[in-house]
């Protein structure tokens, strides 16, 4: 039996050797870097302790996923369930369940202890260290248990996980005795609660595995009929009426992928609005905005992969054999992406509007001084311009990403990731910059990293113009004309041109200095060209992906 347990341990460790190595090495490495070099370089504007803590969290996350010990048992269910081949090993069930969790807990706990005692400057009591380790252990065991429980609906997993987290939080609060009003027993109760959670996690793992091994259907389905009534989930009984194949494909793209974008953004914005109702700080709202932005950027991935949760962009035979032209296949994706982005955008802008309605306008700051100097008409046109430009940016980012990802090549994938990283850095940089910048809009804009990058390298923008013109010319040539004729592209071109004209008029109405105005106009031209580019790129990508 010892031999078999050793083999089991070997499998767990060997299967995840990469993640394990990265997780374990990252902290000492960063620590070494910080000690020797980086402290001088970044110590001025970044708190070293926080960086170190963030790195630690990152590696714990790494280690956690390393030991999460779920396996892909079938093609349909990615990352679900206990690896079935292990269930066939001649070992008692409790060993099968305890070995991986215990291993994970021990590694993660000793890692945290190592970090606290060796690498960080924190001085923590043993009780505190014990608490942190047992929280980690309980979390690991419970999340394993939930992961291993097959066939349980997603919503139920979330509910279970949330209640466990709530239990953990209460226990920890009791131990640390935050309000210092409760008796000495609270530490005891808290510790007991933690241990209870830890043990129940193990027990639940064991039960789950036992049921799986005996192939009982382990289901205690909650009847969440009220959720169905809310129509959050696709209604199964009513069949749509399709006028043709293209409309059916629209339905397919929407129901299989695109609905996720507005759903996610909608859920985040509801949380945001509720948070603002309870008087949350502006920080939280800003974080929500960043999350939403991330979702927008991620939506390219959503739409380009062919199944939710899949990482692959190769077009599935089922999709590829639809009797539709390449252009129609691409356009059904793009149109549904557009629908998703627009609906999500409405949610997105509803958050600040509603929170301002609820909390009221922020108190006078440096930036609002600048606002007072501008006339109402200018304010409105700035607002409308901002709305249009943000939508255009979101669309351009997600649609261009989607269009090149549809090509399913490694190069395009790397290009896409780099592009998004760049965008993210620009965005973050801009936000950080704007936050600390007093003064009027123009000086802030001019000083922002995004502006500087573009104005110092105008050829970056010229690249887009040249690319777009070249692509447009390409569509006049026979091999491309086969993919999409210009008449098919006309509608989309007209929409983008209308957006461009409106925003140009708005920019000119702002009466900015000539140079700034010209620069803004040029940027807008480029932005709307970027909005149109996906309609040229996506059909080519689909054609390449479909006919290999």
């Amino acid at each position: 039996m010892v031999l078999m347990i050793r083999a089991l341990l070997w499998e767990v460790l060997y299967k995840n050797r990469l993640g394990l190595t990265i997780g374990l090495i990252i902290v000492p490495l960063v620590w070494l870097l910080l000690e020797t070099y980086l402290e001088k370089a970044i110590g001025d504007f970044l708190p070293i302790g926080k960086v170190s803590f963030a790195i630690m969290l990152l590696s714990v996350l790494f280690l956690y996923t390393t030991f999460s010990y779920v396996d892909t048992n079938s093609k349909e269910k990615a990352n679900e369930g206990f690896p079935t081949h292990i269930l066939r090993l001649p070992l008692p069930t409790w060993v099968l369940s305890v070995v991986p969790i215990l291993l994970g807990t021990v590694v993660v706990a000793s890692f945290i202890l190592m970090w606290i005692n060796v690498f960080s400057d924190f001085e923590l009591s043993w009780l505190m260290q014990f608490t942190i380790c047992s929280v980690a252990g309980a979390f690991i065991s419970w999340s394993q248990a939930i992961n291993w429980g097959l066939n349980t609906p997603m919503i139920q997993k979330v509910v279970l996980l949330l209640s466990v987290i709530a239990g953990l939080v209460f226990s920890v609060l009791a131990i640390f005795d935050i309000d210092e009003s409760s008796s000495a027993y609270s530490k005891l109760y808290g510790s007991l609660g933690l241990i209870l959670l830890l043990l129940s996690g193990y027990f639940f793992c064991f039960i789950t595995l036992l049921r799986t091994r005996r192939s009982d259907n382990f289901q205690f389905r909650l009847e969440l009929s009220f959720l169905n009534r809310l129509r959050l989930f696709p209604n199964n009984t009513k069949l749509a009426n399709f006028s043709n194949g293209l409309s059916a494909q629209y339905w397919y793209e929407w129901k299989s992928l695109a609905y996720v974008i507005p759903l996610t953004i909608g859920l985040i914005s509801i949380v945001e609005i509720v948070a603002s109702m309870f008087g949350a700080e502006r920080k939280i709202i800003l974080m929500g905005v960043m999350m939403m932005t991330t979702v927008f950027l991620m939506s390219a991935h959503f739409m380009a992969c062919n199944k939710l949760g899949s990482e692959k962009f190769n077009i599935l035979p089922h999709c590829a054999t639809r009797p539709l032209s390449d252009f129609d296949l691409a356009i059904s994706k793009l149109n549904m992406l557009a629908l998703g982005v627009v609906i999500a955008y409405l949610f997105f802008i509803s958050v600040p509007v509603l929170s301002i309605y609820i909390i009221g306008l922020p108190e006078t700051t440096a930036s609002s001084n600048a606002i007072e100097n501008i006339s109402l008409a200018k304010m409105i046109s700035t607002l409308i311009l901002a709305l249009i430009v943000f939508l255009a940016i979101f669309w351009a980012a997600s649609a261009n990403g989607c269009a090149i990802l549809l090509r399913d090549s490694k190069l395009m994938f790397i290009l896409n990731i780099t592009g998004f990283m760049g965008l993210g850095v620009l965005f973050l940089g801009s936000i950080i910059y704007f936050k600390g910048q007093p003064g009027d809009f123009e000086t802030v804009l001019k000083a922002s990293p995004a502006y500087q990058l573009v104005s110092e390298n105008p050829h970056l923008l010229s690249l887009i113009v040249t690319g777009a013109i070249l692509l447009l010319i390409a569509f006049l040539l026979p091999p491309f004309r086969r993919i999409a004729s210009l008449s098919q592209l006309r509608t989309y071109g007209l929409i983008c041109a209308t957006g461009l004209v409106i925003s140009l008029v708005l920019v000119w109405s702002l009466e900015l200095p000539t140079k700034a105005s010209a620069f803004a106009s040029y940027s807008l031209v480029n932005l709307f060209l970027l909005c149109f580019l996906p309609f040229l790129v996506a059909p080519i990508s689909v054609a390449k992906n479909r006919h290999r």
């Binding site: 399709f242 194949g245 397919y252 009797p323 539709l324 129609d328």
Partner: protein, 307 residues
């Protein structure tokens, strides 16, 4: 050659390489309407690659592919609209219910017959409000088969549809193929490892090995022309190995317990004149089964059997 209008599939000189490995090597194949073509070959022989070319999922690197007289890469909408397709792994969208799936599929095909489709689904006795991902492999294949034939396609492409399925579902697949040809001369391309099924339903056999077509002939001719002659070892030595090897249509010679088994692909008349000219005495002569023919043409299999 046949007039081009009559040809459902016309493949000429098709070659395809994956990482310098020849998946298809100078393939020529013509299919007339009303034919059932059986494609057999060892794993990785190029059957699926060929079928993917017919669907336009692969671009012809060398040579040409035309289906219904059109290039499936350039005219996917026209070509795919007349094809019914079922593969070994029917990758149906799991999140749809059966009813939604059939409704979705019906939108694409002009020839979709709603009452026929609902009859086909009823025959499977599956609950149409069930999600596809909750179905077993066989049940998914049944749903896929219903969708593949409900629009009465002019060409039914079955890419190893029977693999891993129970005999009942396999029978359903066969009867779908038969129904397709029986109804006003539509065509079927059927690739399979089940040689008895291929023998049953196909009227033309195409055998692949390592990306090449090693045999392409009407099924009846294949079965009648492939023979094994048994020759005594004295007689074999008298005639001489070199003379035996000159026999027309010789596939292989194998010694077994003092007798020689000579496999040939030859018509009766030619065989008679050849044996007469050598005045070859034959102990026994019998027709080869499709399994034996398959083993003869696929060299890897032969090596394993020979040991």
């Amino acid at each position: 050659m046949q007039s081009a209008d009559n040809l459902i599939i016309n493949i000429q000189g098709l070659s395809r390489e994956f990482d310098k490995h020849k998946a298809l090597d100078n393939i020529d194949l013509q299919v007339e309407s009303g034919q059932v073509i059986g494609i057999v070959g060892e794993n990785g022989a190029g059957k699926t690659t060929l079928i993917k070319h017919l669907l336009g999922l692969y671009r012809a690197e060398q040579g040409s592919v035309s289906v219904f007289g059109l290039d499936p890469v350039n005219n996917p909408a026209e070509v795919l609209g007349k094809i019914g397709y079922l593969s070994e792994q029917p990758d149906l969208p799991g999140w749809m219910t059966i009813a939604q799936y059939m409704n979705y599929m019906s939108a694409f095909y002009t020839g979709w017959d709603d009452s026929y489709a609902s009859n086909l689904i009823k025959a499977t006795s599956l609950d149409i409000n069930k999600k596809i991902k909750s179905l077993s492999k066989g049940q998914q294949a049944r749903v896929g088969l219903c969708a593949a034939q409900a629009h009465k396609p002019e060409l039914l492409l079955l890419d190893e549809p029977s693999s891993g399925l129970d005999p009942l579902v396999r029978k359903e697949i066969l009867s779908a193929a038969i129904r397709t040809v029986v109804d006003d001369g539509r065509s079927v391309v059927f690739s399979s490892h089940f040689l008895d099924e291929v023998e049953r339903i196909c009227d033309h056999l195409v055998m692949f090995s390592k990306g090449k077509i090693v045999l392409s002939a009407p099924m009846s001719e294949v079965l009648e022309h492939h023979k094994i002659l048994i020759i005594g070892s004295d007689e074999f030595k008298r005639v001489g190995n070199s003379n035996i090897e000159k026999l027309p249509g010789l596939l292989r010679v194998k010694e077994k317990r003092g007798e020689y088994l000579v496999s040939l692909n030859i018509s009766d008349d030619l065989l008679l004149s050849a044996t007469d000219s050598l005045s070859l005495k034959i102990i026994d002569k019998r027709l080869m089964t499709l399994d034996e023919i398959f083993v003869c043409y696929c060299p890897e299999q032969q090596a394993v059997n020979g040991e």
